[in-house]
Subunit: 294 residues, 2 copies
């Protein structure tokens, strides 16, 4: 009896997990809801465990299902890597033809202001390479979680003591960037304005710095993301302390003030799996990232 799951079945599981429902997964996979149902049931029978809790609106993974999903993504990724490597190793092909998708997870400001340059140069050098960037909020496991779960090949993340590189991943610091004060241009007393902050910044590197300051902002407003913060500042609503990466291409209606040598900083780096770190495509990307950061 064929005891283990076929790649097809794994893809179905992953799709159901992603789409949170059999019907949606079926649409995403271009097959029938019935086929998905049959397939999941078959997988559950083979594994001897219920993988999804079926409910009123869709299906959610059980504990067993979560484990199955994590492994399924890994297996599928390994199969992809196998295909790529074997194709790359066929009969003396030279190793510099990089092709295929390269999935990158990045937080917002990196995706908007760091990656475009990098990916431009990368695709110029390797035209067959198709980078796919996904913007991930830096909360919870952040971009490293995407890599761990097999949803991304490389993640751009802030790296520090509060968010170290997970032990099963490898990574490195690309650049250290400082925070700067940003406020409406020409404002006579910007420090009296309310402080605008955003979710991802909460647990971040600025807290310690604020503790050492005598200056206390009159109020704190929370915005959706750093883009929204910048927009609020530019309309004169408040001031903010933001990393330089978020300030690339800031409009002329805001003014950026250096906070001096004691300003807070954060380290921006990358994380990937050791396996992918050995692959040529990821190595080429890291090379470009290093070049752009240095």
């Amino acid at each position: 009896m064929t005891e283990d799951l076929a790649p097809r079945e794994l893809r179905v599981l992953v799709a159901v997990g992603r789409e949170r429902g059999f019907s949606a997964a079926a649409v995403a996979l271009g097959m029938t809801q019935s086929a998905v149902s049959h397939s999941v049931r078959g997988s559950e029978r083979k594994l001897g465990a219920v993988l999804f809790e079926r409910g009123r609106n869709g299906a959610t993974a059980t504990a067993a299902g979560e484990r199955a999903l994590a492994h399924a993504r890994r297996v599928l990724r390994l199969l992809d890597v196998m295909a790529a490597e074997v194709r790359g190793a066929r009969s003396g092909a030279e190793p510099d033809i990089l092709a295929g998708p390269l999935r990158i997870a990045a937080f917002r400001s990196a995706a908007l202001h760091l990656l475009p340059r990098v990916l431009g140069r990368l695709t110029a050098r390797h035209p067959e390479l198709v980078p796919e960037v996904r913007i991930v909020r830096e909360v919870g496991r952040g971009t490293a979680g995407e890599v761990l779960d097999g949803r991304a090949d490389l993640g751009i993340a802030t790296i520090g003591t509060s968010s170290p590189v997970p032990p099963e991943l490898v990574g490195g610091v690309l650049l250290e960037e400082g925070y700067a004060l940003v406020h409406p241009a020409g404002h006579p007393a910007p420090r009296t304005l309310p402080l605008v902050d955003w979710t991802e910044n909460c647990t971040s590197y600025t807290r310690e710095w604020w503790a050492g300051q005598e200056w206390l902002p009159p109020a704190t407003v929370e915005a959706e993301d750093d883009g929204a913060v910048l927009s609020m500042v530019s309309t004169g609503y408040g001031m903010a302390v933001m990393p330089e990466l978020s300030l690339v291409g800031a409009p002329s209606s805001v003014e950026i003030t250096d906070l001096g040598p004691e300003r807070p900083t954060r380290s921006v780096g990358y994380v990937t799996t050791p396996e992918l770190a050995a692959s040529l495509a990821v190595r080429a990307l890291i090379r470009e990232l290093r070049a752009a950061a240095g």
Copy 2:
């Protein structure tokens, strides 16, 4: 189109690689030679590369085939782990019922003197877990090669600058052990005896130490392995410089002399794949290894 290989096809590839021939693989798998031929051809078409060189007596893997085989073994192993873990996590079962085989590759002295304790405690905690230990000579790629090729889940290896953890694997240092002088008990001038060494030790950590010594042994004899070395020393044939792990349970007919603070040392650690590093069984093993080493 189903672009990636089914587990069935992977098993065929692995069998052909192991049996070195289509016909032999067929009988091993209980199917027809024809089926094997069709299956391999299909795999080759899907991957776009020739995987086996067909010859007069059997088939041998090409470079591309070797890579495919390594990945195939790992994918199949991952599928097994997935099945075991998901079954362990089914519907409210306590989360850590680990079951199934756990394949460990270790060099001789670790297998004889480090693993028994560790595996005893591991199986006490997880009775359904069946560790399988394979003794691998630490030459060439050593135990890491076994892990890379998917023939072992975890390898015990010496880790250092001359043999780092390969980039596509993860690993860690468990303990640092010193070398000691061992010679026949009661010998009046042990340093005048011939030095007995063994193959795996050749490229090892002692060389540098010897370079700094004024003491030069009168002759060097090479033995099969560290067990043979110890046996030769115990019969009075010579003396040796051996790591402490090889000296556990040494007979009373030998005497062990510390070489002082400048003695050579080596680091013993583990290596595994990132996927397996996330699996519960391997994590439990590493935990026990750490506990035993610390």
